[in-house]
Symmetry: D3
Subunit: 285 residues, 6 copies
């Protein structure tokens, strides 16, 4: 818990167990139990560094010493050493793959997020780019933390984090206004209510009923801008957070960023990134 919550520590242990299972057959045969080693993780591609806390937690879990060379969130260049671990050689070898798998994915996501946020902020310095729940099952905490390191907004971690009324809910309840009012009445005051709308009319209805966030799903940048403009004219724009989602990625981020929207949610941050490349060089004494 030094750095990470308990649940995450349990995740890290499970990740190690998944890879090590009944033991590292090869190292247990070839490496003396008392051999010591030093292992440095190097970037092999340009990336926004992430996953250091996780590897440091693994080091602490397994009795290794660590020396961090670069803080998370910084750009690293190929060949740059980011973290050095020292201790039992067998353990260094046993944790190598899991550690790199974490760093590569998290840095990949952080890098993609950074780039997309950077593009968006050129158009609108106040806009937020948020991740969605389209994460790898079992790895959400890490996916979301990488988004945060890259400058993105983590959005909901789980279905109990916020009310998000979608079309299915609306069609059962009957109308946007009814659904938002129902949620307002039933949900704790500590929760925000977001409502997906399909038309300007529905947006107005949601605002009137007390939604905190209006979500424009699959609107073109132009249509988002249109909603933004009308809400502004009606003096309603500052009553809600305006969020757009649906196919937002590198290629259209600028257009959405200039639409006047507050939040751009992009599933691609966590489902269509490229892993950054890192390796671990190990010397055994």
């Amino acid at each position: 818990m030094e750095r990470l919550p308990f649940d995450v520590i349990e995740d890290l242990k499970r990740f190690l167990r998944e890879d090590i299972r009944s033991g590292d057959l090869t190292s247990n045969i070839t490496i003396p139990v008392d051999a010591k080693g030093k292992a440095t993780i190097y970037a092999k591609s340009k990336a926004v560094l992430a996953g250091m806390e996780e590897v440091i937690a693994i080091a602490e879990l397994t009795g290794l010493q660590h020396d961090l060379h670069v803080f998370e969130g910084n750009w690293v260049n190929p060949g740059e050493g980011v973290l050095t671990l020292t201790g039992q050689a067998r353990i260094l070898l046993a944790i190598e793959r899991v550690s790199l798998n974490i760093v590569q994915r998290m840095s990949g996501i952080a890098t993609k997020t950074y780039n997309i946020v950077h593009e968006a902020k050129k158009m609108n310095p106040k806009v937020r780019v948020a991740a969605t729940r389209k994460t790898t099952p079992g790895f959400r905490y890490f996916d979301k933390r990488a988004v945060k390191i890259g400058g993105g907004d983590t959005h909901r971690y789980a279905l109990d984090d916020m009310v998000l009324i979608k079309n299915n809910h609306i069609s059962v309840v009957g109308s946007v206004g009814e659904a938002v009012r129902l949620a307002r009445r039933e949900v704790s005051f500590s929760k925000k209510i977001s409502c997906e709308v399909r038309t300007l009319q529905e947006a107005l209805e949601a605002i009137k009923a007390g939604a905190d966030i209006v979500l424009l799903d699959n609107f073109s940048p132009q249509d988002v801008a249109g909603v933004h403009k009308i809400l502004t004219e009606k003096g309603l724009r500052n009553k809600i957070i305006l969020e757009a989602s649906g196919g937002i990625d590198q290629d259209n981020i600028k257009a959405y960023a200039e639409s006047g929207c507050d939040v751009l949610s992009s599933g691609a941050l966590t489902h269509s990134y490229e892993s950054s490349d890192f390796n671990m060089l190990l010397t055994i004494e």
Copy 2:
């Protein structure tokens, strides 16, 4: 256990808990507890379908009925319905995201694997394309199963699956020959021994010492072909499985496939795929 081992069922439950946590706030407010629904998963991009067993297991875990329209491993086209679930509407909504997250990732990996295997087999119908341990932590079983569905070889699931002697091990033991002999003596007869080599000389040494697999890491296709040729000339080629690894991906798979190698291992299958696109359309009665 109908279809999946117990450990996997535990994984699926954990995935659901990660997303649902203390409950689906929105659906619990808007959807009556006894509302029934029907949900169909549709492909939105062309893909090799995977993840059906997992979603069916989720359905069984949560009391839903299922009707499978397409078997795993088949190509699906945009708009094609692959699986229909029926039952409590609240549950359909609660499992939607996790189910899609699984199907999209697994189908993405299966698709990438299929394509790369297809290319490789054009050059050498007997060649195998294998995944590595570069999987998302906590998701390895699913990543590997997707590789298998796509026609790939799953390779090691964990560090106890096979002996794989790498340079670090060799440098501690002293030589390739020593390392292989040591492993041969110490490891169960039920395990294969693979040895990474840097030169033809080391390959010969590994074979002589009794390795089952010789792994050429970061050899060019030409150098792999050279090793293959000399081993063939010396009558040693059929004594071992020849494996190549290191930067193998879509762009160079053909060259490696014609090198005469038996197995091409590619981390990219599980770390640099693109998620396939699927959605779930739900009607509530």
Copy 3:
């Protein structure tokens, strides 16, 4: 998951294991394995009924049939049967104590909540009475659900549910305004920000910095009313939710309810309730 999230099912299993451990020594000796029985839970005191979903889930977990006579949230009178379970007699005996322990506590909390909410609403029909995190460790979900059944607001389930800036945080950051602005910048747009204030000045600062909720901790009802009045005069009242907390209980709830506050948070709902009295009458065939 029919009714309750997976995590809760795991909790219920753990509760049963806590009580049953290696087996119900007495029933295993005296009751034939194939004896059937019928058990009805009766109220022994006047109470707002809660815990039915939990007992029904236990019944489903252990292969019992159930027949619910009264819905949760209704008042029950001494002698009123609320739920009948039928099945293996040994199992009925094994789950008796855990089931009653749940129903008694949850109904006790629901009853206390109902009464206090009822008093508050007499003064202000729109006021909410909310629970705090002062719940029994390991039992929070059930404590909170009982509050909801009794008509209360569940407030935060955990430290990641909302930002709640307290004096300790403020003193580190430097000022209320700085703290709220910092939170606004760092936290996801999907989260609300609440800020505890000690003075009207701090309340104004919090509002200006963008807090969603202003928490008046340990203010007298008169002081709360004073803040409410000034905020109303300044046209700021509808920009935030006004919450009071600190020693709020049955005896002062009315005074706080007329203060103009939106939310009254009371730890007493979950730490100082009296368990309702229920028993289970069992006939074995």
Copy 4:
């Protein structure tokens, strides 16, 4: 395991996870990761102190230092500091609520137990006041330990701790004598056998059949005294432990204590106590 068994450590971790979940949103934003702090738990009401071992175990689990000022079982007065923790400020804030929730409940139970035991011992210094299994699910170990700290008897932890034959068991077997003899024959010699009786006749039957404990459920103090007297006259009183239960609480404890009974079991110790009041004052450096 320094002080508490492993199972309890797992409980404490689960309690922390319940409250902290994916992280303490507020402190992670406002408190620097390397800020140090000092936190002292103070009594706010007069109470018999309990829960110190638990908080110390939490401190050890989370890397905090502790300094205990008052031993468990002692009376503390409002304003008295009982335990000081030092270490990472973020961690002090993250564990505050769970720690107080434990201390408040356990001290509440210890205080109630102390008072009731004190009253009982005035009448009969040898009498024991015992808790029942009417504990909060998942929190039994702590409830029972608090009873012990307050001077009470913990009674059964679980259904496998002792044979306790109740009316349901008797009616299936046929008679008190049969039920006790059956249990005597079937259960390990290491277990005690208690039998609930409705009449003096049944009490005699139970004793003759070899019961270790005779339980008088819902007898008035006068009726308990009557049974005690007759058993004494028949020379049977020292063959068994005489226990009374059913509605025993503060108001009637003295009457039961003078009845000659050995053990008075009171569910109220753990289901109808009032939480003691404690707070934690924290300074961050």
Copy 5:
């Protein structure tokens, strides 16, 4: 929980996971997923049958049907079919080894226990033969249940089941009398107190202090008989249970059985038995 407590179900699942891990590689390749089969467990050696409840629970966990031919506790002869399972062939193959491992061990223990109890009862029909805590770690419930099926006494399941004062405890406290009195005072009335003694003098001291059980560890049968005789003469024999332990096994059980002792504890029941031989014959349709 139909038959076994929840904890045991978790154990059985873990046993299956240990053997099946990521899947039954061979059956998944060679057996069609929809093939059905019938599997019968046959005795291959003469044995007292045990483990049927466990295999039936495994069958229920994995969706198999079962047909029990012989009840636990009966002698079975080589070639006798004891239980038939039907269902998915892959599952029958996957659970075969774990099921047999359980049945073979439990029947081995039940058989050894039966034989030793039988010998003992020839000498003294009232004597009990009890197991100790010398069980295989993680398998205690099953070891103990097998002892019970064989007619033995299960003794303590865990260190919290009874007070058992050994020499180490006595030497710390100062004397047998002190230790027993201390335990009597501190432990719940629901627990028995056993005390290990080295001399007749200590036995008298333990009885006087109120021990329920006097344990003669490493006494010869003659010395046990001597203690029994003197206690009888002094009129103290019926005040306590007399237990002997230390090297008690098949070869000396009769001598101890005639010593007048009540309970003979033998670690050999669970650490030096021979597994019974069973196999499973499977036909696949």
Copy 6:
């Protein structure tokens, strides 16, 4: 993970919990919490020592110091001290039984394995004696490790470790050749394929189809020798590993060892060993 994989640490914790449960009732009463002690494990019978890593891991888990006197795999004589633990006296007492239970079983298996391997090697220095999956459920890792310490081969840990085609699989697929070819095609190149055969003809078929291992189940030593001879004459002997199994134990090991077979698999190593005798002598300061 200093020495053992994480999963094993979890096993050890579970073993401790099984024995300690809610606490060591006796020691908690009689031993002061701050008493220190020293405990030495002594051999009481001649044995090949095993289980030291496990006890050392338990010591580390519970904050004890250790001093190892004899390495695993060495013979120890009655009276020889093998490991000394120091630390809190209560903890030494609490871990005593679990530690001895592990050491006694593992040393028993290591001793039996050593003896049987020793006999076998007299006849054929190259032969391997392997364990099977006939281990105690939940204790396989420890059973297998003990076999390794005794000089045996661990064979498969689980059903996913190797393909092992048995008669049931063959009869479904149609023939030995078909089954091996099917497995060859379907299974990862990293896995070995073993095939059980009933005749020489089937052995030839398996070899031709590419099996790595041919398993002669329930062949007499003479028949094994016959197969070995013919395969040698046909020049096929060095293409495969020849394994025999079925009733192999101390009494026939020599005959099988001279048969020319490579591997002799014996379930008896783990199901019919005798626990070695060890005790722990403890002094409390």
